[in-house]
Amino acid sequence: MATEILMPALSPTMEEGTLAKWLVKEGDTVSSGDILAEIETDKATMEFEAVDDGVMGKILIAAGTEGVKVNTPIAVLVAEGEDVPAEGAKAATTPAPAALNGAEDKTAAPATAAPAPATPKADTTPDWPEGTEMKTQTVREALRDAMAEEMRSTDEVFVMGEEVAEYQGAYKITQGLLDEFGARRVIDTPITEHGFAGIGVGAAFGGLRPIVEFMTFNFAMQAIDHILNSAAKTLYMSGGQMGCPIVFRGPNGAAARVGAQHSQCYAAWYSQIPGLKVVMPYSAADAKGLLKQAIRDPNPVVFLENEILYGRSFEVPVLDDFTIPFGKAKTWREGTDVSIVSFGIGMTYALEAAERLEKDGISAEVIDLRTIRPMDTDAILASVMKTNRLVTVEEGYPQGSVGNYITSVVMERAFDYLDAPVINLTGKDVPMPYAANLEKLALVTTDEVVEAVRKVTYR
């Protein structure tokens, strides 16, 4: 049976090409793999191989022809002893590729996420029942308890990282875990972030629930390919077949006097990635409830802690088991004049500023996002619609900051409610200096929050 040979697409971007040279002539016997022709694509000159065995019946496009469109018949291959079909009698050909690249769908409206509700409302349900007994705990202890509780309940949960076991944690977050759970589940790694992050992701593919500790998220840059390309994207790339339940956790942002390579905040970076969840707790109760939630979440979670907050004490509910849901902001102070939105250590400055402003008669509402992705934009919008002014506070860099994103959401959905431009307070646009005085200048401060609020309230 005669078969039409079509002009092939030989690169991802080729639409037409030049049939530079025929290497066979009519009547030649060809077998699969033989070079039939040389074709110039938009990138290079390529050899074009035969797929089927047969005899070259007729060459339809002469050598040297330019601008031959992909899928144009260029020759007819016949069986031994068979005639070339007459003009008009259609040779068998694989049907022309229909519906390429969804061309016929181009006018269809793209599917979009559900439309935003008209009036955003903050979820104000309490995180734990009224009257729950509380105890004072550091963030450090709360994080350790969260891991220990989840490890007690589920064998699939394990911790790996540098110095997490015998050293008891570089920042003592994993203190006591080796004693309780043993070396099978509390695993010291060599200094090899790229490698152990990948092993952690593979273990999650294999059905475990790893907690991968980075000594700091600055070192996780060596592993960021696995966090993004291997962990975050696999569920999508597999059409929903393969999940990656893993927690990447460790201190993030500036500590004190550790210089440019150990002081960066990665909240904005990770918050850009669909497939990741990004958490940044401020209080001990949130650290515990959110970490337990992260360990149970079927998705990869980036859990950004802060070295300075590790030693701070907060009230933590005494409950056998409690978690904080993702995507639910917490309003620390209610106010009427301005909304201050922050997360992580930024909350320290936001709350201090609110206290000082109160003395001057300015009522600030302070919202802790707790999770950057998913982000509780409804809580932000509801607050801005009430106060009509917004200041965001974070430690990361200004360009492409979390505050920038919040601002864009507010511009789109609450523009008419704004009585002043939004101010995004961030760390300064410089690598972190070592000198004490310069480091202080590089960080966002309570004074700056106070000043920004005065600016947006015109007071």
Binding site: P97, N229, Y236
Partner: protein, 329 residues
Amino acid sequence: MATRKSTAKSNVSAEELQSYYRDMLLIRRFEEKAGQLYGMGLIGGFCHLYIGQEAVVVGLEAAAKEGDKRITSYRDHGHMLACGMDPKGVMAELTGREGGYSRGKGGSMHMFSKEKHFYGGHGIVGAQVPLGAGLAFSDKYKGNDNVTFTYFGDGAANQGQVYETYNMAMLWDLPVIFVIENNKYAMGTSVQRATKSPSLWERGAAYGIAGEEVDGMDVLAVKAAGEKAVAHCRAGKGPYILEVMTYRYRGHSMSDPAKYRTRDEVQKMRSERDAIEHVRELLLQGKHATEDDLKAIDKEIKAVVNEAAEFSKESPEPALEELWTDIYA
């Protein structure tokens, strides 16, 4: 073609030999069809064909048992077919259709099958190596005797994370077989232009990992080496490296003009070392099959591939809502 003997002791039955022939032929015909569909514009983007390397995956799958895992790079069609994934689902993924393994959202380089313990299909060169060790970690943690075949190429063998992984795999005795598919070219860069190491598997010695070089154009030699490696891993002795010497007949991807090697070099491998021709000869000379038996297999494979191609064209494109699904579990 000069008669070739297998370098391995032949401990296989006629049925097994026939099944290797069938499996290798399926990969070759499937890939030829994929090349054809690419030429027609039905497959887009990158498409890396496995033609020439068929004996590697078929030989190693012959050494695997149910429960063993496999993971590889973006040149993954052969691995998927060899572990029993449905050619229709693979081809429909190549054409970006709803019937594909990833419902059209992964493409040639990103496909998975939990059922067949195939963990991808990874597009970042070398990333699958620690992932494979992690899969092996999960099996050791659970206390079963499964092993993970972690495939990567001579190009990936120069990535740093491979050696980070070697170190931890040996440190923790992980049941992982590192399969270096040395097809001599990392895209357009020959092994000799990328390293002065005389061999890639010997690099494992720095970490205490045992290994060996294997003739990747001889499916029986690959199977024998695979069995040895599997036994090593199942016995709890930690990882093992197989450097399988193979050859890719086609370009790195579809848009590779292949100016870095001569036509003669490719032709010589095809005519003297072809793995499928080799098994064909073993079958005929050993009187394990007749010409007619083999013709019947050819016909059967052609039908399977044609059916896959038809399915891949008829399966609809994914619904537009699919853009927003499978981002979070």
